[in-house]
Amino acid sequence: MKVWALHLVLIAVLFAAQFLLSPYHTTNLARIMVLAVFAMGYNLAFGYTGLLSLGHALLLGAGMYAAGLSAQLWGFSAGPALIVGTVAGGVMAAAVGLLALRTAGVSFMIVTLMFAQAGYLTILYFAPTTGGDEGFTLAAASRTFAGFDLSTDTPRFFAALALFALGLLVSLALVRSPFGRTMVAMRENEERSRMLGYNPFAVKLAALTISGLYAGAAGAAYALLFGYVGASFTTIQYSILPMLYVLLGGAGTTIGPLLGAALMFALIEAASGLTTAYLFLVGLALVVLVLFAPKGILGTIRERWLKWLP
């Protein structure tokens, strides 16, 4: 009860933020919420199931390009394009998982990284369709949903909030379900899980696919809300960022991804005002985190004070 209340209050606070923040910050918050959806998906794979993927940019990109290209080439509007993007993320994750989940640990990291790099190069290779390095912008016509123009501030914010809220509540329901317990069992002791009758491959594949659905939805939403599709979203940077968000906010906590995404977003914005080498600061943040707060902010809070935090 307490747990659900906390999550609903968080959604209410985000809803209210729209009326309190300047348009500039409202847009940033919309961006953060979309990135948080990406991170929540990453968290289900990494934080709960223990799958340390370095290839989630591929899943984000699958959603982004599936939504963007279906809008561009076939004139899909935002609703169908979002669905296509979400499914593309899930299908891509399942396909990668079928091969990559034959490995574990460091090998899994390398294989997923390799797949993501192959995806990036594929997008560059098909430049006439994908726009290559430069990407493409989405026509205003495809950025409408139920009559609302998603390129304007208020509808964009509410669309991002709706997606985030859905993602958050689904993720909460999932981790509190028996399947959520099974995912954690994979992370904690795979061999024991197997000897309890679970098929580790099937459980991990399911978790990775769900993670891919989140990444796909986030990629599609990013394209539709901000009007741009580009190869830069499929680079290694976008595989590392969700991991950073999750580590900072707290791996294996439901709200951690949002917190991490918001803080990292603010950090990058502040740092890029100071220096062009802002990625250096991102790297530094990762090192500091791993050394001093391996459980992240909410992970530490849960350990010390709020044991009930999901």
Partner: protein, 234 residues
């Protein structure tokens, strides 16, 4: 009594080491069967073949009338072969409740709470549900391991050195618990503590160098000169 698990010519060699070497073995329904033998005799490897943690190089394993030789471990568990680990293997950072619930929900989600509590009650861990498993005393961790095995409602429960590291008082409780499991559950027990073996087992199989040296009742095994030479006489 009908045999529940039967192996024929079961073999697993590691290079030149014949860990399990042509073992014919039968586990009768409802018995407590002890597997003994010197260190390195192949006991753990043999039960690993039964549970599917390792795959046999040759020979067959039947569960009832079904050939399970090539089934993966998790399917064998679902068919009723539960294995409890020699070195306690629990989910250390999960609560006691979650540890057992994982075993329970693998059998279906109905009445998860009630069935989990029942398994905990059976081993006497009620009241510790919310405790993190790694903070339990060692004896309690062994009991948790056992509760997870029981929660699977197995037809065969394989216990790999369950009393290792337990205090004498805990061993008494453990013996009563195992006795209460049969005949609904058949127990295959690897055990070094001869007192436990002689008290509990209805039949004993002695392994030596990966081969069956003898099978029989505790009295027959005690009287067997080959066994005395290889093992008991030491």
């Amino acid at each position: 009594m009908a045999s529940l698990i039967e192996t024929h010519d079961l073999t697993l060699h590691f290079g030149g080491l014949k860990a399990v070497d042509g073992v014919d073995f039968s586990l009768m329904a409802g018995e407590i069967h002890a597997l003994i033998g010197p260190n390195g005799a192949g006991k753990t490897t043999f039960v690993s073949l039964l549970s599917g943690r390792r795959m046999a190089q040759s020979g067959t394993i039947h569960l009832g009338t079904e050939d399970i030789t090539h089934l993966p471990a998790h399917i064998r568990v679902r068919k009723g072969i539960a294995y409890t680990f020699q070195i306690t293997s629990i989910f250390p950072r999960l609560t006691v409740f979650d540890n057992v619930a994982l075993a329970v929900q693998a059998q279906g989600a109905k009445d998860l709470h009630g069935r989990t509590q029942a398994a905990l009650a059976r081993v006497g861990l009620v009241g510790l549900e919310e405790q993190e498993a790694q903070t339990l005393a060692y004896g309690h961790q062994r009991l948790l391991e056992l509760a997870m095995g029981l929660a699977l409602n197995p037809r065969v429960l394989i216990l790999d050195e369950p009393t290792q590291g337990l205090a004498a008082s805990e061993i008494e409780g453990f013996k009563r618990l195992v006795e209460s499991l049969v005949p609904e559950t058949t127990v295959l027990l690897i055990e070094h503590n001869m007192e436990v073996v002689m008290d509990l087992a209805t039949r004993i199989t002695v392994l030596n160098f990966g081969q069956v040296l003898a099978t029989g009742t505790p009295e027959e095994i005690r009287a067997n000169p080959l066994v005395q030479e290889a093992y008991l006489g030491a």
